[in-house]
Symmetry: C2
DNA sequence: CTTTGTAATGTAAAGGTTTACATTAAAAAT
DNA sequence: ATTTTTAATGTAAACCTTTACATTACAAAG
């Protein structure tokens, strides 16, 4: 069907070695010979067979990207960043979603073996054992927001703890003390980190975290919506809702509005991640800014450092800090208790 | 590094052919032999080399997905649908973004050659010539929302014309006659189709489309925002804004709110695509519902029909119709001219 | 004119599979 | 006991490259 290197060699009247040489411009080839071969390649529309090449070179020019889910803007931003970085090196991306299912992780990882030069795994949900058992030893691996501190792989973690702390402090500074949080599931490392940061900030201000204000969502808009409907039923309603990602915050806002309440005057809402759409919401959403796109870029660049042997030796653990994107969905309150506290503190 | 089929054969005391047979359970192998080999495979953690397999089988178990962009929820939904369908067949997805650049399209397509068993291309921007010149003849291709009516390839088109017509009629029924549209760029086939539908609906009601109410955006939130800021400066302000995708509608809403206007009481806004977040906005966004996720699924299934030879012969051209998702961002108005018209019509 | 050195090109092995065909072993038929 | 049939397994070619090593041709040096 397709012409191969032999066809080219025959038509150009040279050996396949010479054709291969001009293909990879590895060694000197007389320029007239080169021209001739190039002309034939063009004429025959010859493209080297990547399987054959991959077989002998042990190089695929592809990077595997394994994500837990493909839902929402967060993951699309990761892909966008990774694709950008990968294209800059003339590499390509093999994307797969694991849906947090260990069988699917296994299948995806097996598929990638031999098909990619490196793997980027984002798997906040699955515990390390399953993951580690299936991670190939033969290619570089970068773990993105996984249950970390694994000595064998490079890891990148966003500072969920610090980000949540900072946001919580911000809310406390605004006078909120009854803050409900919407978490992302018990086994999710990112959710855990954020919860840890939240609680820690409260304790630092001598507020005992109230478990009954910690609601379990699953990082989707729907879960934010439904959970907040419950929250609003509480007799002692919180003055602020801290959703552990923006999708849940968006769902929360809808639920609050449906109840006829105003944001931020009746209740403050903030999110986490700062997905691109956050600043366009009304009110624009206050959120913890995670450089999502850059996370994809970083992971890819790290992986290239390994591939190109620019980085050797022990694995590195990078920590990506967050910033606060303060917008219009949170407001200062002056409750009685708040005034009292200020009085006490002053 | 990795063990290969020869290692397995040696350790199991059989020939590589037998190992291959149990791997592909192609022919009968004595069950004790099979057990033995399976055990060795397990012990050696042997995984067949996909490059070698792909080389001889001419099959890669991967589908290429070429998108114009990876921005926003629209494309992430396409990827999600495609990945889902592909995983159902134990296939995998190679994703690439072309950024509407013909050089990048060329590069991506060249890369995919030999690496994928089929290609799905979404390229509403680039004209068919460049695309066709680079599309491989050797694997099935599905064109998704491309400048269509190409006899050589299967195509899937969403009914942008019909969707825009329907939405326009809806707006007209609500009494809007001064409707501004936010288009998605001149060379974009989807934008063109939607514009055609919009104009056609107007003409059917004897309204001459007013070019000065057609504003060029580029399908991003920012472009919606900035364009609508201009729109609001108009002395005879439109009563409705029809954004040709939801991202621009989101930007539009922000611009309108910043001007202190209320949606939908002061001005109606609607979008196109009905991305998942649309129903969670406030007010929830009226939009033309495109089954985005299903588009990805359909494209993949079509491609599998070709791969598995379930479908032969002439290429098919599928047309995906849209529906209206009527929510709360558009409102009936009763202007003077509107009342007059109703009087005339009755 | 012969030898040496060098630039250009060619030869063949290797990479890891699948599979058509060949072989062997054992059971069934004669 | 010999032949035929069948089931199980083995052999080797093919898939398409890259590259170490071999060869050739020719110019420079002796």
């Amino acid at each position: 069907m397709h012409s191969n290197i032999i066809d080219v060699a025959k038509k150009a009247g040279v050996s396949i070695a010479t054709v291969s040489r001009v293909l990879n411009d590895s060694e000197k080839v007389k320029s007239e010979t080169r021209e001739k071969i190039l002309a034939v390649i063009d004429e025959l529309k010859y493209v080297p067979n990547p399987a054959a090449r991959g077989l002998i070179m042990r190089r695929t020019e592809a990077i595997g990207l394994l994500l837990p889910d493909l839902h929402g803007e967060f993951f699309s931003e990761i892909i966008r960043g990774a694709d950008e970085a990968v294209q800059a090196q003339s590499y390509h991306l093999i994307v797969s979603s694991s849906h947090n299912d260990s069988k699917e992780i296994e299948a995806a990882l097996r598929f990638m073996r031999g098909r990619v030069d490196a793997i980027i795994v984002m798997s906040p949900q699955v515990d390390s054992e399953i993951l580690l058992a299936n991670l190939p030893k033969s290619v570089p691996v970068v773990l993105l927001n996984c249950r970390t501190s694994n000595p064998h792989f490079d890891t990148i973690m966003t500072d969920g703890y610090g980000g949540a702390r900072e946001m919580t402090n911000y809310l406390l500074d605004l006078g909120h003390t009854r803050i409900a949080v919407l978490t992302g599931g018990e086994n999710n490392i990112e959710s855990q980190e954020r919860l840890r940061g939240f609680r820690s900030a409260l304790r630092e201000r001598d507020i005992t975290p109230n478990r009954s204000l910690e609601f379990a969502g699953n990082f989707t808009e729907v879960s934010g919506y439904e959970t907040v409907r419950e929250v609003l039923l509480l007799k002692d309603r919180p003055t602020a809702i801290f959703a552990f990602n923006d999708s849940m915050a968006i769902g929360a806002i809808k639920a609050i509005r449906e109840e006829g309440l105003k944001i931020p005057s009746d209740i403050s809402v903030c999110g986490f991640d700062d997905i691109p759409v956050a600043k366009f919401l009304s009110p624009s959403l206050t959120s913890v800014c995670v450089p999502i796109h850059d996370l994809g870029v970083m992971a890819v660049n790290r992986v290239f450092d390994r591939i190109k042997k620019r980085t050797k030796g022990a694995s590195a653990h990078m920590f990506v800090s967050t910033t606060l994107s303060i917008r219009n969905s949170c407001k200062k309150i002056n409750t009685m208790s708040n005034l009292e506290k200020e009085g006490n503190a002053a």
